[in-house]
């Protein structure tokens, strides 16, 4: 039981001097002066702030591979196959109050692979232990410079934004034809019928058409954001969240009308041409225009202070405390379809909690404890420095890597590492 904290519920206001009882991995009671049942550990949180565990809707930590970049449509691949529970970034994210991440395919492909929603249960060697059980299926799409660069470097489509739209329409049309073929097969009463070719790529595209998979689309420019909504409208796809969407503010009314959501950076810009016309007021403009918005990190470094990133909307636009906190709790939960389980402190929800010294929106905030399913995974007072799960016995102890922002930001891939270029004689 967490005693006497200032509880930032996100949905039901701020409760001072309040206790939160956790039982069976769930939040079981919230109130003042609760009595802890026998044997329940009490944590004195006087003077501290309790908020829902932070959810990062765009992350590539805990993954052994990020892009299957050899094809422009790879809806058949699954990030769930490549979860890496050994990534120390997981612990460091916990130390920043994060309890869940959306492990995404990279942005090399127009249609990428299915992503995986994770709970940061650090310490296991079994990748399955990190999966957020029963979270809705999600998939990664990408528009703009990243997929077109891949096409240009290999002389294949798409090499321009026009080609991106064409590829999307072709893929969905192919999926409709595939579905028709299989529907015909299933309806066929002939006992000696032969199955059409099975194609996992098409199967997933059909699932998207039928609304079983939430689409998260890496995008930047206003025109491509608009384009996708039109394509989706034509094919009847409605569940859409834009990722990064630096120019989404320019088409905020359209997003609101479509019902699309957005997951954006607090203030990253200018690293590519398509983000040159960004504004740090993006999240504010979207929120004020009625678009459900979240702030993400897309970085193993930024994820550790998402609470600070969210606070930037109070500088760039005057969002209220609750609006700012929603950007990293309830809103990303909605975008991942897990808002019935996490994203706020309410009785019955999972006990994914983060305890802070100092209000989380203050720059001086220090996360001190993080719980996932009621289990404490981070405790600053008892922090052990070396959090590696496995150690390579042959690696030198002093293994220094100097921090380079680009290494952490996987969507910032500004160079396509080309196998062909490696051995090419055209230098």
């Amino acid at each position: 039981m967490i005693k006497n904290a200032t509880v930032l519920t996100v949905t039901k206001g701020t409760l001072t001097n309040t206790d939160v009882l956790v039982s069976g991995g769930k939040i079981s009671r919230i109130g003042k002066g609760l009595n802890a049942p026998n044997g329940v550990q009490e944590i004195d949180a006087t003077g501290k702030f309790l908020m829902p565990g932070i959810i990062d809707a765009h992350s590539h930590i805990a993954l052994s591979a990020v892009n299957e970049g050899t094809s422009q449509v790879t809806s058949e691949v699954q990030m769930g196959d490549v979860i890496d529970p050994f990534d120390v970034s997981i612990y460091r994210a916990l130390a920043g109050g994060v309890t869940s991440t959306h492990a995404l395919h990279g942005s090399a492909n127009v249609i990428g692979g299915e992503s995986e929603t994770l709970k940061l249960r650090y310490g296991s060697t079994n990748p399955e232990d990190l999966k957020f059980e029963n979270a809705p299926r999600t998939i990664k799409f990408a528009l703009g410079e990243n997929p077109t660069r891949g096409g240009r470097s290999r002389g294949i489509q798409p090499s321009s934004r026009m080609g991106v739209e064409a590829m999307l329409r072709n893929s969905f049309t192919d999926a409709q034809a595939y579905r028709a073929k299989w529907n015909a097969y299933k309806a066929d009463k002939n006992p000696r019928k032969i199955a059409p070719e099975y194609d996992l790529r098409m199967e997933t595209l059909v699932d998207i058409l039928e609304g079983r998979v939430l689409v998260h689309c890496h995008s930047y420019r206003a025109d491509e954001i608009y384009m996708l909504m039109k394509v989706f409208a034509d094919f009847g796809i409605t569940k859409l969240t834009y990722q990064h969407a630096n120019e989404a503010y320019k088409v905020a009314p359209e997003l609101a009308e479509f019902g699309a959501m957005a997951s954006v950076f607090a203030d990253w810009w200018a690293y590519k041409l398509e983000v040159y016309y960004s504004t740090a007021y993006n999240a504010t403009i979207l929120t004020r225009n009625g678009v459900t918005t979240s702030i993400n990190s897309d970085s193993g470094e930024l994820i550790r202070h998402l609470f600070h990133e969210a606070a930037k909307t109070q500088k760039y636009g005057d969002l209220t405390d609750e609006e700012a906190l929603s950007l990293i709790t309830l809103n990303p939960a909605k975008q991942l379809g897990i808002e019935n389980r996490v994203g706020s402190i309410e009785v019955g929800k999972d006990a994914d909690l983060a305890l802070f010294e100092g209000h989380p929106l203050s720059v001086y905030a220090i996360p001190v404890m993080t719980f996932v399913d009621g289990v404490k995974y981070f405790d600053r007072a008892n922090d052990i420095k070396d959090q590696r799960i496995y150690v390579n016995p042959e690696q030198a102890v002093e293994n220094v890597t100097i921090f380079n922002r680009e290494d952490q930001h996987r969507c910032m891939d500004t160079e396509v590492v080309s196998f062909e270029a490696l051995f090419s004689n055209n230098k």
Binding site: R92, T279, I285, H305, L361, V363, E398, F403
Partner: protein, 445 residues
């Protein structure tokens, strides 16, 4: 009739053209900076070197701080800005950026901080600064008034310069100091080759140091024999001579603990007096040695991943504080280009993780100015110093704090930038989703 109409028309135009005090602009009015005489009144003034004035006035005249105190007489012709409830600070100084040298990171043509070749210390960052970079207004409206902008890559990438973030030519921006950048041979980043031993790493560093030492040996020789007649015209080596003579500072980028120690020894052996270590990501491991050597450091970015997988998660946050407590003079940098505006947050994190607000503020004001060699002109609010100051609604480290006024070189800076203009245009877009909704349908044939 015509004349009267014209006058009415003119009055209307003038009315529209009255500059607004809030962000943004109306129609196509351009906001410009203004020089002159200003009195900032009723503010809490953080001088940094002379304590806090609870309710004070700051007088700016022709680019200089003319007076500061609780009882300052306000000249009649001064433009008065009432700062009641607000705070005034020296403009923040970022002692490590590439601001102005890179417009869009991914486009090679837009990047000017790195030249071909390993030994290019004569390359002048100052000349390549784009005074009209879109990032500059974006940065200064957040209270960062001055930055060190430096070349990168290779061993001796070039000469960096301190620039104020206001001016229409590099010379108008130049804030008074330059320095030679050197990337110290690094033992870090062993890559996937698992058999690389500490001995092999050390040997690699040794070999690289030889190249470095060759260059500096030549520079020392050059310093001795220049002017004697038979000296080769050698711009690369010439550029190093001011460091040898002590008239220009040498900024050494070095991060691994072992490398820092090697660098300190190297500095001692070569006897150069005016040296700064930058980066120092593992400075906390050898803080005592750095303090002993009396070498100042520029640390950052503070919001960074620890250098080793086995390090505590907050190693980078706590780094500046640990070095400071050991007696090292610390300035904080972002190391950034387009988001230098986040400098107060790097300092804020350093403050939260052991440095404390006061020291962290020094790290981005007076310490930075001292390390960059411009502390006679900026870095604190003192009479006679340049008027680089900003007015804020509260603690500038706190994320929600707004910066309301910025002065650079005594000019009141227009509180606008590309990002603010985009905010104004799109917060309530005209039209919204529906473009035209006429009552009468368009006639079709």
């Amino acid at each position: 009739m015509k004349g009267a109409m014209k006058r009415v028309f003119q009055l209307i135009i003038i009315a529209i053209m009255v500059p607004l005090l809030s962000f943004g602009q109306e129609d196509d009015q351009v906001m410009k900076a203004r020089g002159g005489k200003f009195a900032l009144t009723n503010a809490k003034i953080y001088t940094v070197t002379n304590g806090i004035i609870e309710n004070g006035t700051l007088l700016i005249n022709n680019g200089i701080i003319e007076a500061v105190g609780a009882n300052v007489k306000i000249p009649a012709d001064a433009e008065v800005i009432d700062c009641k409830g607000k705070e005034i600070y020296p403009g923040m100084i970022d002692s490590g950026t590439k601001l102005g040298l890179s417009e869009i990171e991914s486009i090679a043509e837009a990047n000017d901080f790195s030249e071909s070749g390993d030994l290019t210390p004569q390359m002048q960052a100052l000349s390549a600064v784009n005074p009209n970079s879109v990032s500059i207004p974006v940065t200064r409206v957040s209270g960062v008034t001055t930055v060190w902008t430096a070349p990168a890559g290779g061993v001796l990438p070039g000469t960096a310069a301190t620039i104020n973030l206001f001016g229409y030519t590099p010379d108008q921006m130049f804030a008074g100091s330059k320095g030679i950048i050197m990337n110290f041979p690094s033992s870090g980043g062993g890559g996937r080759f698992r058999r690389r031993s500490p001995e092999e790493q050390a040997k690699a560093v040794e070999r690289a140091l030889k190249t470095v030492n060759d260059a500096w040996d030549k520079a020392e020789l050059y310093a001795k024999i220049e002017g004697s007649g038979d000296v080769r015209d050698y711009p690369e080596i010439e550029a190093l001579v001011p460091v040898v003579k002590g008239s220009m500072a040498l900024f050494i980028e070095v991060n691994a603990a072992k490398d820092i120690l090697t660098a300190l020894e190297w500095i001692k052996k070569r006897g150069y007096k005016n040296v700064v270590l930058t980066g120092v990501a593992e400075g906390w491991r050898v803080a005592d040695k750095i303090a002993e050597a009396k070498v100042p450091v520029v640390a950052g970015p503070v919001q960074a991943i620890p250098t080793r997988d086995s390090d505590a998660y907050d190693a980078a946050y706590a780094n500046p504080a640990i070095m400071h407590k050991a007696g090292v003079k610390v300035a904080i940098r972002t190391g950034d280009t387009e988001n230098v505006r986040n400098l107060p947050y790097h300092a804020g994190f350093a403050a939260a993780y052991g440095m404390g607000k006061e020291e962290a503020l020094k790290a981005i004001t007076i310490n930075a100015a001292q390390i960059l060699g411009v502390s006679d002109q900026i870095g604190s609010i003192e009479v006679g110093k340049k008027a680089n100051v900003f007015v804020s609604t509260g603690d500038p480290f706190e994320t929600a704090t707004k910066i309301t006024n910025v002065f650079i070189d005594g000019y009141l800076i227009p509180m606008t930038s590309q990002q603010i203009r985009l905010y104004d245009e799109f917060l309530n877009r005209t039209p919204g989703v529906k473009k035209n909704d006429p009552a009468i349908q368009i006639k079709k044939k």
